[in-house]
């Protein structure tokens, strides 16, 4: 019996070792891009379309172009369940395969990887999430958060409120609520909202929602009814978002004064509120729907070849497109790294250079078949976010529509706060290294 057990154990160990060896060997034959995703757990509703979007765009590049610069991409997902501990375990498991960039897809995991990025020389791409202060490339040369930070997002929200209310001077005396997941991600916009409140004379009310009460928000909406905020900014995730939209409808809160951050703009988030959710708003930095040339390629090379797990009739959903946008950034970073270094095979240090040199112009957008899908984007050595433009999307009861023109964040206001926060972060960590990395 014990001999049999030993046999099974040895077999299992050899299978595990063989699979690890295969991954390592594959990594030599292509550019290794791990994707930290969450298809399970409480946040899977948001995580699945994003994971599929990320996977499908990179797969399309492999199928259509043979990869990037003639080098195939090796795509590997690691399931985090949106759990920081599991995310760090994922990082440790993929680190040895020479990943060229890490996509943590969680602010909590990003915060854990920030100190490791420079040591392991693997850049962290936290697209429009993570630590806002990481936009300061002088302090954080290995961390990138394009196209905008949470602080930019909060400033665009206030700008939108001012536009609707007839100017910044009319914000005085208003009450603005922040309904947020009680986690690092949810708390990110608080400093900039408080600073803007001081500047313009409005009051900020906080409505934290603990993760265990994401689907049990009746108390928080009673508080909202008591305080009667004029506007609410929703920084939620997973099951919290559809519940919030539903509660807004249930409690007669005017949904056109409920504005979600870009992560609260899933199609299912809005749809949960039913017909009365029409008018709900969410920030966005890319197009929705499937009417773009590159999307035809995704359908032809990925969906029609049976390489996608995402339902064909949902292609164009907001969060699926979000995943595509994320993978576009990865691909452009690799392509730029190849241009900068002259090497087809690139590593993490090269891709860091590629990210710092990234400049996606109108011409490049057309080349990628993404006209109308995104705005031009540029990152620099000092500015790792770009503080690019976003717009306010509005739910029409059936689909997202572009509710406003593209708007730039209040960069003059936000940027000094980011630099100050970056310096505070470095000062709090006595061993935080001075930037020595070269600028491309």
């Amino acid at each position: 019996m014990s001999l049999r057990l030993y046999g099974i154990g040895a077999l299992a160990a050899s299978v595990f070792a063989a699979s690890a060896a295969v991954t390592a060997a594959q990594a030599q034959d292509g550019i290794y891009v791990p994707l930290l995703s969450y298809r399970t757990g409480a946040f899977a509703g948001s995580g699945i379309p994003i994971a599929d979007g990320m996977h499908d765009y990179l797969t399309m590049l492999n199928e259509r172009d043979g990869g990037i610069g003639g080098v195939p991409l090796i795509i590997e997902e690691c399931e985090t369940g949106y759990d920081t501990t599991r995310g760090v375990e994922c990082y440790e498991s993929v680190r040895g395969n020479n990943p060229v960039v890490m996509n943590p897809y969680s602010t909590g995991i990003t915060l854990q990887l920030i100190p490791r990025a420079a040591v392991d020389e693997i850049p962290v791409l936290s697209m429009a999430y993570g630590l806002s202060a990481a936009a300061d490339g002088t302090t954080f040369p290995w961390v990138f958060n394009p196209p905008v930070t949470y602080w930019d997002g909060a400033s665009v929200f206030i700008k939108h409120v001012a536009n609707v209310e007839g100017g910044f001077e009319n914000l005085a005396g208003k009450t603005i609520g922040l309904l947020h997941l009680d986690a690092p991600y949810g708390r990110e916009p608080i400093p900039v909202l408080n600073a803007l409140a001081e500047e313009h004379g409005f009051e900020v009310k906080l409505y934290p929602v603990p993760a265990q009460d994401m689907q049990n928000q009746s108390s928080v909406w009673l508080n909202i009814r008591r305080d009667r905020p004029d506007w609410i900014y929703l920084q939620g995730w997973g099951a919290m978002n559809p519940t919030a939209v539903r509660e807004a409808v249930r409690t007669n809160f005017p949904v056109d004064r409920l504005v979600g951050v870009w992560w609260a703009g899933g199609d299912e988030d809005a749809r949960a509120g039913g017909a009365q959710a029409a008018g709900y708003k969410s920030l966005n930095f890319h197009g929705v729907g499937a009417d773009y040339p590159f999307m035809d390629d995704i359908i032809t090379y990925v969906h029609e070849r049976g390489l996608s797990r995402f339902p064909r009739d949902r292609v164009g959903d907001n969060l699926y497109n979000r995943g595509i946008y994320n993978s576009m950034l990865i691909a452009e970073a690799i392509r730029t790294a190849q241009e900068v270094t002259g090497n087809a095979m690139v590593d993490g240090a090269d891709v860091r250079l590629g990210l710092e040199a990234m400049n996606i112009t109108e011409e490049r957008i057309v080349e990628m078949g993404m006209e109308g899908f995104m705005a031009p984007l540029a990152i620099s050595c000092e500015n790792h976010s770009g503080h690019n433009e976003v717009y306010v999307a509005q739910w029409d009861g059936d689909a997202w529509t572009q509710g406003t023109d593209w708007m730039s964040p209040l960069t003059e206001f936000v940027r000094p706060l980011i630099e100050e926060a970056a310096q505070s972060y470095a000062a709090a960590d006595a061993g935080w290294p001075e930037r020595t990395e070269a600028c491309p």
Partner: protein, 318 residues
């Protein structure tokens, strides 16, 4: 002094100033309390039969609701989907009895408790495999449950009553009453109490342990299905819903692990308590106290009445 005023005076003044809000808070507390009582009921049933805290009750709520919605998504009519979901919960009860409980007869309670962890993780994985991880909308109207709301003009303001909440309260009350009668007035109910006291003694007087366990797990499965429908109608059906089930822990501490009336009273105390505390005293500490306030109430009860309000006092002769 100012702090004392904020704690002991201002909330009560505000209650008087805005009686409509007080009524709204009380209604929300009542609905939450009833729903917590429903969840707690599932725990009580299994604890009565086996002396084990069923860690899997939360995922059973999700699994039952997903099964219902899943059948409907396959094109099965809503009422038939409901019947099939009940059938699946029966199969689950039989499977748990055959695969998990029967081999563990006479094992220490901690072993059975750990086995419910195994059931939990199996159902999470199996559920995600079958239904996917994305939230699903409950088929509220298809099940002929009421939707919409009524704004009652009361006390110079208004109180919003969601029709689904009225239905939830009514269904929960009927279900609790039915189960209470079933387990206190029938032969199975008496057998169940015998099993809870001692597996060996129950076996020696000819009680079929297997039959009791299947019955109880099936009853807990039906409670889970009803709970899943009601919570799912208020939000969505997602795996995040299982976390709410742990709100039943303080309810059980209050009401006692073996008492059906205790589950109701405990649920209402927690429901009213957490809503009132969050609404009137939450702002003093930045809000968000609802998630832990229930446990504070439970801790206080533990100190003064460890067996809960209705629990049986355990006397062990040395």
């Amino acid at each position: 002094m100012n702090l004392l005023h904020q704690i002991f005076v201002e909330p009560f003044l505000f209650m008087g100033e805005a009686p409509d809000l007080l009524l709204q808070v009380l209604w929300e507390g009542f609905v939450s309390g009833i729903l917590y009582a429903l969840i707690a009921l599932g725990f009580v049933l299994i604890f009565k039969a086996s002396g084990v805290f069923n860690f899997a009750q939360g995922i059973m709520v999700v699994f039952a609701a997903l099964t219902l919605v899943g059948f409907y998504a396959m094109g099965v009519p809503a009422i038939l989907s409901l019947a099939l979901a009940i059938g699946v919960m029966f199969l689950l009860a039989v499977t748990v009895e055959r695969v998990v409980l029967r081999p563990l007869v006479n094992q220490p309670d901690i072993i059975l408790f750990m086995a419910t962890f195994g059931i939990t993780y199996f159902l999470i994985g199996f559920g995600e495999l079958i239904f996917g991880g994305e939230p699903k909308q409950m088929i509220t109207s298809q099940l002929m449950l009421p939707e919409g709301r009524t704004n009652l003009e009361i006390a110079g303001g208004f109180v919003t009553i969601q029709h689904i909440d009225i239905a939830a309260a009514a269904i929960a009350v009927v279900m609790i009453a039915t189960l209470g009668i079933f387990f206190s007035k029938t032969r199975i109910g008496r057998a169940l109490r015998a099993v809870a006291d001692s597996h060996k003694a129950a076996l020696s007087v000819g009680i079929s342990l297997n039959q009791i366990w299947v019955t109880v797990w099936f009853a807990a499965g039906i409670v889970a299905l009803v709970t899943g429908i009601m919570w799912g109608a208020r939000s969505d059906v997602s795996f995040a819903l299982q976390i709410i089930a742990f709100k039943a822990l303080p309810v059980l501490i209050l009401g006692g692990f073996t008492s059906i009336p205790g589950a109701i009273v405990g649920g209402l105390i927690i429901g009213f308590g957490e809503k009132i505390a969050e609404f009137y005293w939450g702002p003093l500490v930045g809000g968000g106290i609802e998630s832990w306030f229930a446990y504070i109430i439970a801790l206080i009860f533990l100190v003064f009445r460890p067996q809960g309000l209705f629990g049986e006092k355990i006397i062990e002769r040395i």
